[in-house]
Each structure stands twice: as C-alpha cells, then as structure tokens.
C-alpha cells in the first residue's frame, strides 16, 4: 500500500472557478446521466444493505428477508425501469456486477437488447477491499461482461464506490478508461496512475437512492424534490459551464411501487427544458476527451 499514490498525488487540488469552462455541443447546457445499478447478493454472506435488521439487531445468516427484498428488484423493480426508459427512449449506463450475467441473464439480456451501456461494477457486491485478488476479480468481471455484450466495458464503478489505493492502477491496466468512484467535482477530471491516466466522471452519492433512502431514510418523494433542486441549480450554472446531473438508482429501491412514480416525474420535469442531453458514461467520456487539448487525450486510445 505504501507504494501506491494517495488521492492528492493523482490529481492536484483545483478550484472549479479557475478552470476554462467546458462547452457542450449545440449550446446544450447540461447532461443528464442516468446510472442503473444491478447487483448480486450472495445468500451465503451478510447482505449488502438491510431494510429490516433482525429483532435485537443480531447478525443474520442466512438473511432471507433482506435477500428477498433485493431479489424483488430483479424480479419486479427492474422491469419498471425497462418500461420507463424504453418509453422515454433513454439508454442509461448500467453499472452491473458481472455475476448478474450468470445469475440473471434475463435481466442483463434485456439491458443489452435495450442498448444500455454496460459499466464494470465488480464480480459481485462486496467492498473491493474484501476481494482477495483484486486484479483477478477485475479481469474476471470485465471478461464476463465482454463475453456477454461483445464489448469490453470502458467504465468502472466500485461496489459502494469502494477503492483501495491500488485500484486505479489495476483498472487502467485492465483497459478501463473512466471511473465513477471519485465524486469530487461537477466536471470530469483526469487522474494519474502508474499505468496511464483515468478519467473520473461525476457520479453521485447525493442523487443516489442508497444514501438517500437506505442510509438517510428520506421519504420517497424526496428523490424528486432533491433532483429538481439539483437540476435547477446545475441548469442555471450550465449557461456558462457544461454541467452533468448524475442520478444513480437501484431496482430494489427506486423500482418499488411506491417510489417509481417519483422517478417518472423526474424525467417529466427535466424533459421540459431545452438543452438537456441524456447521455451515457461513454458519451460523456468521448465528449470530454475531445474537449481537452492536452496530453490527457492519450486516455482515449
């Protein structure tokens, strides 16, 4: 670990007001980036999240109630997403555990048929610190997605955005071009790794149903309120400087019957505005690399 760069060694501090503004094509003000997360929760392990801890808070193994709660997302919730996005003609980025292709080929296959971008999201849903051979896990996950989709993913999101200090090196050498784990800016940035640069895209822990609904316990309609507030502000700022609104959703949370209408209303709201592009991560990456004139362009290869 001592041999690996700290975050500050990968990218210097930079105040956004000191940078030349990025501009989107055709006078667009803002990119709306939807990221759907599909996961596999191994029934043999502690569940990734819990909606209902056991009486007296005892650890539970197997944890059937919380496994089932997540499974609902794959059986039912995901199909609400597919319906919504196909109606809207939006093709989101899918951050998916590779094991989804093995355990839920019906769901992964639908995303593929609907033209969603597949983004690497580990083999299954464990913090990246806990996987024994990280390089092997990353390679395995990308190989599975490549076999399933015919294309090697260029984007990566750690489970729960987790990284160790060596993760960026391993991702760069595995062919990854952009990551979502660094939620530290409104704009894409380039970070250094020993194996070449990586682009960070502004993924989100703010407009994300896990922190909002599962960690902070907000009411369902707050996803709509917060997204409108975020959108309004970034749309206003997008007049002078390209902005990106990322929205991260999970089928077992936002795919619930009592929440889906707030997700639908988000798109009704933002689609009333001119100059909003529904792009996936690859489109944002390609635009950003084309916007830059310096050596970072080499990441594009």
């Amino acid at each position: 670990m001592a041999n690996h760069m700290l975050p500050r060694e990968r990218c210097d501090y930079s105040a956004i007001v000191d940078r030349p503004p990025l501009k989107l094509p055709d006078g667009a003000r803002l990119v709306f980036w939807t990221i759907v997360n599909f996961e596999v929760w191994d029934i043999g392990r502690a569940m990734a999240r819990q909606v209902l801890p056991a009486p007296t808070g005892q650890p539970l193994l197997p944890d059937v109630p919380n496994w089932s709660w997540h499974e609902y997302g794959m059986r039912v919730g995901a199909w609400r997403f597919f319906q919504l996005f196909s109606q809207l003609g939006i093709r989101p980025t899918l951050a998916t555990n590779a094991r989804v292709c093995e355990d839920y080929p019906r769901v992964a296959g639908q995303a593929l048929r609907d033209g969603w971008e597949f983004m690497g999201h580990a083999y299954d849903q464990l913090p990246i610190h806990a996987c024994g051979d990280q390089a092997a896990m990353i390679g395995r996950a990308l190989d599975i997605l490549e076999r399933f989709t015919g294309q090697r993913p260029r984007g990566w999101l750690g489970p729960g955005l987790t990284q160790t200090l060596e993760t960026p090196e391993l991702l760069a050498s595995a062919g990854i071009k952009y990551i979502g784990d660094w939620v530290y800016d409104d704009e894409p940035t380039v970070i250094r790794t020993a194996n070449g640069p990586l682009v960070t895209l502004p993924y989100t822990v703010e407009l994300n149903d896990i922190p909002m609904m599962i960690v902070q316990h907000h009411q369902s309609d707050y996803l709509l309120r917060r997204t409108i507030d975020q959108f309004d502000r970034l749309y206003q700022e997008g007049k002078d400087r390209a902005k990106i609104v990322a929205l991260a959703i999970h089928p077992y949370i936002s795919g619930q019957p009592h929440r889906i209408k707030y997700l639908e209303q988000i798109y009704e709201y933002v689609n009333r505005f001119e100059g909003v592009l529904h792009w996936n991560g690859l489109q944002i990456l390609d635009w950003y690399l084309a916007s830059r004139t310096d050596s970072a362009i080499e990441v594009a290869a």
Binding site: S14, A15, A46, L126, Y222, R225
Partner: protein, 295 residues
C-alpha cells in the same frame, strides 16, 4: 478545570441587558468550516457506507465527497456572501491552509475573519500534543493572512479539560465550543478569562443533514424559526445567533438555495447586525469587561 469551575450558572433573564450599537436587537454571524480530510485516516463523516457495512480503509468515496466541497461547493457559498454583502468567518484546519490556496486567497480578498479549527479534522482528545496543534494552527493562519487568529473552534467542537487554558496561553482571545448560551460568556482559565461566543450545533449542516438526515429545506425552516424566536427574545437584551455551513454539505448544488434564502430573509430586517466573531468579541469585551463577570 471542570466546566462549572470555568463559569457559574447564570439564567439569561437575570443579567443586565446588553446593548448593541444603533439600536440593533441582535447579531447574526455565519461560520464557514473548511477542512482537509486525510485519506489515510477514517473519514470524519460519511454519506455512503460500504456494502455489508464495516469501515474499510482507504475510504475513497467519502474522501471524494468531502473534497467536492472545496473544489466546487465553496465557490457557491462565496457567491451567496458576495451577493448579499455578508461577511463570513472562516474556521479552517491549519493543514487546509497549504492544501487549498485559492480558498485562502478568496477569503483574504473578502476580508473574512480566519479562526483556528484544529490543525487537522480530528478530535482534540486525539491530538498527540494539543498545545502544539493549537500553536501550529495559529502559525499557519498568521503566515497566510499576516494576522494571528483571535478565535478558535475545536474540530467537532471537541475539547480536553485543558483546552481553554492552552488557547489563552497561545494567544487566542475567544472560543466557540461551548454552545450554552445566546450571549457571549467569560470562561475562567489559569491565564485569565477567555470569551466564548454562541456557536451552534442546531443551525449547523453537519448535525442537520448528516446526523439527523433532514431534507435540505429544513436548513431554511430551522434558521428562520431560530431567528424569529431570538429576535423576539432580544427585546430583553442583545442576543447572538450563529449559522454554520460546510462547503461539502450546503455547497451541494441541491442545497445552496436554502442557505441563501435564510440569509436573504434575515438580511431584510434592519435591526440585525451581520458581524464577524471578532466584532462580537470586541463589542462584548467593551460591554461586559471580564472583571465584572468572571469572578
């Protein structure tokens, strides 16, 4: 010393009324907290927990979430202060001075007051050498601004039994850790009195958004409720209200407007002063000298 040895209990209604200049009823002061989080340590706060819990290190997502405040969020807050013509107090970690020069520069050109906020964002009870931490913070601020800080806020308001003594010995004049009154108070130390200014954990975005998980709009609602009550209370003597923000919380795009609206409403009242900490300190020391009150 125990807290009760530093000051005696005093009900606010039984004190001589404090008077502000120009017939103002109350003072509002606004504190912006700028921190640097060490990516090799556990994060001071988190917004996202890892799958299946635990606290694996390094914690890059929560480090990055905080860093957003200094790269992007801080500049939204600056815009609010500029637009409304309100002075801010910058409570800054000593180590953040070197990490974020553009933030230091922006605060300097606006003549914001700098106060010490620990050398790093860690409990003062974990500092290996507390005096050294307090001294290095003052040195870093003095080197960057040309003035030693007069005020101090512990990281997370933390203190040891000795903190007020060390602060006065190291040249600080006021502290903000004791949220026990609507007026400044004198605290006894082994080196004479130090003033405590009314800071807040109530109108504070860390407590409200990260601990209690309120909606962003609650910042506005609570600030206005707090303001109206204190404004009314101030008929019996001047009072002080604090508002606290952190760039990574109220500087998030979806929250800044609630902070701005609260300030807009308060600023529309003609009998309210927006002061820095040292303005409150200087006024209070003149109005209630230590000799009368600190016995």
């Amino acid at each position: 010393m125990l807290p009760t040895e530093r000051l005696s209990y005093s009900p606010i209604l039984e004190r001589p009324a404090l008077k502000l200049p120009g017939g103002a009823r109350m003072v509002v002061w606004v504190i912006v907290n700028v921190e640097e989080w060490d990516p090799t340590e556990p994060m001071p706060r988190t917004v996202i927990t890892p799958p299946a819990g635990g606290s694996p290190s390094p914690d890059i997502p929560n480090w990055a979430w905080h860093e957003y405040g200094n790269r992007v969020g801080f500049w939204r807050l600056v815009e609010v202060f500029d637009a409304l013509g309100i002075p801010a107090v910058l409570a800054i970690n000593g180590c953040a001075i070197a990490a974020y020069p553009p933030i230091v520069e922006a605060a300097l050109v606006r003549r914001w007051e700098f106060i010490g906020h620990g050398f790093t964002q860690r409990s003062m009870q974990k500092a290996a050498d507390e005096r050294d931490d307090i001294r290095r913070t003052a040195t870093a601020i003095a080197a960057a601004t040309g003035r030693r800080p007069r005020g101090w806020l512990g990281p997370g308001l933390t203190e040891t039994w000795e903190t007020p003594d060390l602060l006065i010995e190291e040249g600080y004049e006021y502290v903000c850790d004791w949220v026990l009154d609507d007026q400044p108070v004198w605290l006894r130390t082994r080196g004479g009195g130090i003033v405590n200014l009314p800071y807040t954990q109530e109108c504070n975005d860390v407590a409200m958004m990260l601990i209690q998980h309120h909606k962003a709009a609650e910042y506005y609602d609570r600030a206005i409720d707090q303001f109206e009550q204190i404004h009314g209370d101030a008929a019996g003597g001047a009072r002080v209200m604090a508002l606290v923000v952190h760039p990574y919380i109220m500087g998030a795009a979806h929250r800044t407007k609630y902070f701005r609206r609260a300030l807009e409403v308060i600023r529309s009242r003609s009998d309210v002063l927006f002061w820095t900490g040292e303005q409150i300190f200087d006024w209070y020391v003149a109005a209630a000298p230590a000799a009368q009150t600190a016995t």
